[in-house]
Symmetry: C2
Subunit: 164 residues, 2 copies
C-alpha cells in the first residue's frame, strides 16, 4: 500500500513539473473527459486522496471549489498542506485494516459499505486513471506525457540474487 | 494483489461490453495519445499483462501484431486464451515474492533490475492508466465511459461491525 502511494506522489510531482513548462491558460483550458482541465485534475487528485483518508478517520472532507485554487502554485500548496496527514495515515497502514467496514451515504440517500482496503485501492486507482486522461491531453498539446511506469523508479529493494 | 487483478478483469470485461455498443470502425479509428485506438488499447492491456507474467516465469512473451487481432471478437478470444495462465500466477502470489529480483535488458542494451512486486504493480497500473485514456476517447464519442471505481464492486468482504 505504501509503495502505491509513494508511486502516486512521485507521478504527481512529475506532472507538476510538466505543468511548469506549459502556459497556464493551457492548464486551465476546458478539455473533453474527466474533470475538464489539466490543473483541475491535479487539484481533484489531491482533494480526493485527502478526503478519503479523512473519511476513514471520521473527519470532514474538503469542500472548497477549484476556482479558489486555479493556479499551479496554489494547487501545489494545497497538496503540500494535505500531504502530512495522508502520509501519516498511509505509513501507519496495517494488514489488519484491510477489511474494516466503511459505510457511505450516497447522494440519493442509499448506503453502500466498502472496506478500508477497497477505499485505499480506490484512491490509488483514481489518480492513475486521471493521469491516463492527462496523457491524452498532453499529446493533444504536442507534448510528451509523464511516464506512468511503476518499474525503474527504485520503489522497492530487490533481493541480491536474481530469482531463477 | 489478487484484489487488484480481479478489479482490472472486471473493468476490462465492462470495456468489452461497452465496445459491443460502438461501431467497429470507431473502435479501430486512430486517436490522439496512448497506443492509438480503443481496440488496440484493449489488446495491449491483455498482451502486456500476460507478457509480464510470462517474463517473471522466464517464458517468452507475445510477439504478434495487433493487425491480426483487429476485431472485438478476436481481442476477447485472445484475452480468454491468456487469462488462465495469468490467473494461476496471481492466485499463487505470496508476500515472499515481493522482492524477488528481475533483470530486464532494455532496447539500448543496458539492464535494469526491478522486483516482482514492482512488476505486478506496473502491470496493474498499466491497465488503469490506459482505461483513463479510453475514458477521454469515450467522451469524444459522446458516450459515457466505464466507471473506474474500485468501491462498490464487492471485491472485498467487510467486517460485520462498522469501524469507529
Amino acid at each position: 500500500m505504501k509503495t502505491w502511494f509513494r508511486y502516486n506522489w512521485i507521478i504527481r510531482e512529475q506532472w507538476y513539473e510538466w505543468c511548469g513548462e506549459v502556459p497556464e491558460e493551457e492548464l486551465l483550458r476546458r478539455r473533453t473527459g474527466g474533470v475538464g482541465s489539466i490543473l483541475e485534475t491535479l487539484f481533484h487528485m489531491a482533494d480526493v486522496e485527502w478526503s478519503w483518508i479523512r473519511a476513514m478517520q471520521g473527519k470532514p472532507d474538503f469542500q472548497e471549489k477549484f476556482q479558489e485554487y486555479a493556479s499551479l502554485t496554489k494547487v501545489r500548496e494545497l497538496d503540500k498542506l494535505f500531504r502530512p496527514e495522508v502520509e501519516a495515515f498511509v505509513n501507519n497502514w496495517e494488514e489488519r485494516m484491510e477489511n474494516r467496514a466503511f459505510t457511505d451515504t450516497r447522494a440519493d440517500g442509499t448506503t453502500v459499505t466498502d472496506t478500508w482496503g477497497e477505499i485505499m485501492r480506490h484512491t490509488i486507482a483514481h489518480q492513475i486513471h486521471h493521469c491516463g486522461q492527462l496523457s491524452v491531453w498532453a499529446r493533444e498539446l504536442g507534448r510528451k506525457p509523464v511516464s506512468p511506469n511503476v518499474i525503474g523508479k527504485g520503489l522497492m529493494v530487490p533481493e541480491a540474487k536474481e530469482y531463477k
